[in-house]
Symmetry: C2
Subunit: 110 residues, 2 copies
DNA sequence: TCCATATATCAAGAATAATAGATATATGTG
DNA sequence: CACATATATCTATTATTCTTGATATATGGA
């Protein structure tokens, strides 16, 4: 992860539709969602959604797979990990008790 | 954490100076850094840095404390946790092996 | 091959954000 | 109180990003 990609990824997440999409896909896990389905759920026009999905793709936060005529999108957990690792690099100045609570935030209960 | 603040926070991180600042402060931990010191290290003009620090403050990713004539800034680990928790809410669709690697990214070796 | 479905690209106007010069405010010191 | 230091605010210009209508491309089926 370099700073250019990190900036692009954070910029991707600073727009409501794209943040909604990534959160949907994170919840969907390995099931993913078709592009059209995502647009329907979020009530976003087709071309706008396509543009936004492409931005998420290029940010490395999302990946896709063709499925017949549709294209299925998934959260890219490796990409998300890379971004968070870049942000938290050398965290907490030697005091683990500062950054451990950050980890707790992400423990899933599934 | 609501979506409006999350969007504002990700937007804060989508600008190079501000991402640099937060990463510096995350590394600095509880020591923090003075506003002027941050500007010197990053080679950013005083008023630009002040504006950017204010945006980080309002995003909840950073807090500050007056220290005589200077103002010392710190990463706000609670704020960071809140943002990441919002992003990763209900993650991984029931398959912990998908999101556990995301956690590993943030384990500090201090 | 022709048509329908699903998604992507293009182009332009509208909205938003970044930067920096000038200036203001706040604190400490003598 | 006068002055120096440290940070914040204002304002305008420039640059970037968002959205959308129109159109293009890709796939599957008859």
């Amino acid at each position: 992860m370099d700073i250019t990609l990190a900036l692009f990824a954070f910029s991707a997440l600073s727009q409501e539709t794209r943040l909604d999409v990534l959160r949907l896909l994170i919840k969907a896990g390995q099931t993913g969602m078709n592009a059209g389905e995502i647009g329907d759920v979020l009530g976003v026009r087709q071309n706008t959604m396509s543009t936004n999905l492409n931005i998420l793709l290029r940010s490395g936060l999302v990946r896709n797979e063709r499925e017949g005529r549709s294209i299925r999108y998934f959260a890219d957990f490796d990409g998300i990990r890379g971004l968070l690792a870049f942000l938290m690099e050398d965290c907490c100045g030697g005091k683990p008790e500062l950054c451990e609570p950050v980890l707790d935030a992400i423990v899933c209960d599934c």
